[in-house]
């Protein structure tokens, strides 16, 4: 059940929320929408779920356009909106029954679907309680249960783990992973570890435009600057610090060397090498040749966090 988004633009009055966004989500893919607050994640999701129309552009879900076949699209989508709004005066069973009926589930299957959701989402103990009495974690499960009660092919979740404690986050994340196995899932978040933990693919969006698109690993690869290696070594007493620099810098692919502290004869260096190269081996050989004693060597890989930071901060720092 693929989603095709083409040239999507949305204005709120004069304010542009998203600008000419295009992307595809393949069947069975878990796509993470990453971006700072007010980047346009929620707006994009609201358009895909037919809550509001775009100012320009098209969205097709399984070949059905949101403009012309809104009902068909809505039938295929399960949606968990931001902040997980629920009817607090209904109990869990009543609410799931309500959601099931609105989704037009065959009357003979409603009970069965409800029981399935209660099992899967772990709502058994609270099923007779009013939603208003439930903890945030349980409410989130109710939100997920209502979104999936009709076994949709597409699941769209706006910040599904926001406001939960770390244990609940892990629980919900596992739930999403388990349930999303056979579905096309789009979820938004500004928590990076979430994307790394759950998503096959990441789209980073900033100020209404897509700034990066790829698997978490690809993005790390693509957007890390130079590779950085930190070493700590004990040099010969006779070696002056100033003499060490050219010996390291002379290695192939080394771009720059920074002194990172030390004392007497122990020194720390940060070594930056050309993108995509690994200088550890050469470094080791050099140390052996120079009779340095290598105390530590560690490679730092750009985290997704840094990629995110880099991509979404640029605009701000320009101002």
């Amino acid at each position: 059940m693929a989603i095709t988004v083409r040239n999507l633009t949305k204005y709120y009055g004069q304010e542009r929320a998203i600008n000419d966004i295009s992307f595809d989500v393949k069947t069975g893919e878990i796509l993470g929408f990453l971006g700072p607050n007010a980047a346009g994640k929620t707006t994009t999701m609201k358009i895909i779920t037919c809550y509001m129309p775009p100012t320009a552009g098209t969205v097709d879900v399984d070949g059905y356009s949101i403009a012309d076949h809104s009902l068909e699209v809505r039938r295929k989508i399960g949606y968990l909106p931001e902040l997980n709004p629920l009817y607090l005066d209904m109990n869990v069973l009543e609410y799931l029954d309500y959601a099931a009926r609105l989704h037009g589930i065959d009357k003979t299957k409603i009970k069965q679907q409800m029981n399935l959701m209660i099992d899967v989402c772990g709502l058994k103990e609270v099923r007779h309680k009013d939603i208003g009495e439930l903890s945030k974690g349980y409410r989130q499960r109710v939100g997920l249960a209502q979104a999936m009660i009709h076994d949709p092919d597409v699941l769209i979740m706006d910040e599904p783990t926001s406001g939960l404690d770390p244990n609940q986050i892990v629980e919900i994340r596992n739930l999403i992973k388990r349930l999303g196995r056979a579905k096309t899932v789009v979820l938004s978040t500004h928590i990076l570890s979430e994307v790394q933990a759950t998503c096959d693919r990441v789209i980073i969006i900033n100020e209404g435009a897509i700034v990066a698109d790829g698997t978490p690993a690809q993005l790390q690869q693509e957007f890390h600057g130079s590779e950085s290696i930190t070493i700590e070594l004990r040099a010969n007493v006779t070696d002056a610090l100033i003499d060490l620099f050219p010996k390291i810098k002379g290695l192939p692919n080394v771009e720059s060397v920074e002194y990172a502290g030390g004392g007497d004869d122990v020194h720390r260096f940060s070594i930056f090498s050309t993108k995509g190269t690994d200088i550890r081996e050469e470094l080791f050989k050099r140390a052996v040749a120079e009779r340095w004693i290598l105390l530590e060597m560690s490679r730092k890989i750009t985290s997704l966090e840094e990629v995110f930071h880099k991509l979404t901060k640029t605009e701000e720092s320009k101002q």
């Binding site: 037919c50 809550y51 989508i77 902040l83 709004p85 009817y87 005066d89 959601a99 609105l102």
Partner: protein
Amino acid sequence: MALDIKSLSSNLGNVGTIYRREIRSYFNSAIAYVVIVVFLAIIGWFHTSNLFLANVASLRLMFELIPAIFLFVVPAITMRLLSEEKKTGTIELLTTKPLHDVEIVLGKFLAAWALVGIALLLTLVYYITIAFLGSIDNGPVVGGYLGLMLMAGVYVAIGLFASSLTENQVVAFIIGFVLVFALFMLDKVLLYVPGSLTSIVEFLGIDYHFSNIARGVVDSRDIIYFLSLLGFTLYLTVTSLQRRKW
């Protein structure tokens, strides 16, 4: 053709689902009971004082009183219907489910209308007491109840429309009250209206048509007035609900 029937039954099913949820919500919260008790208490007070103090065994006072009570009771019933969904964000869940906006509006409209209907049904107690005590002309009674239901329908539609305009229930109540009050007062301010317009203004006033029906004369013009006003207001409500789409 078979397809049309299928989609119609699914439409009715959706309306019914919304309707049941709203009715349940009225009776789960205190709203339904408060409304019914307040409604019956006010009418009961005037009814009994009329009966015992003035020695008049008639329902006329009741039929004159209820339209005035409706003015604030009906907007109180309808004020939360859409505004609360807007405030809590559940409107987003509702409108992304596979159903038409019309079905949402109709379901909510029917639920509020039914609640007014239940309150009205309970006033039959007063009818029964009068019927025991004296002879009663059933024509105006039937017409009166029919008129009250039609009037309630229009008020509920207006209140629902007011509720669709804002996410604040108090604001929704005030807008609803002002609108129904204006409609109610139209045929009472004819003195201040230029002569050429009096008949138009009078025709627009809701109480004018209600009193026609309440006399026991059911004229198609009055029925058409109520139904068209009802339909028009519901149409406005659907449009207002779709405003998010502009």
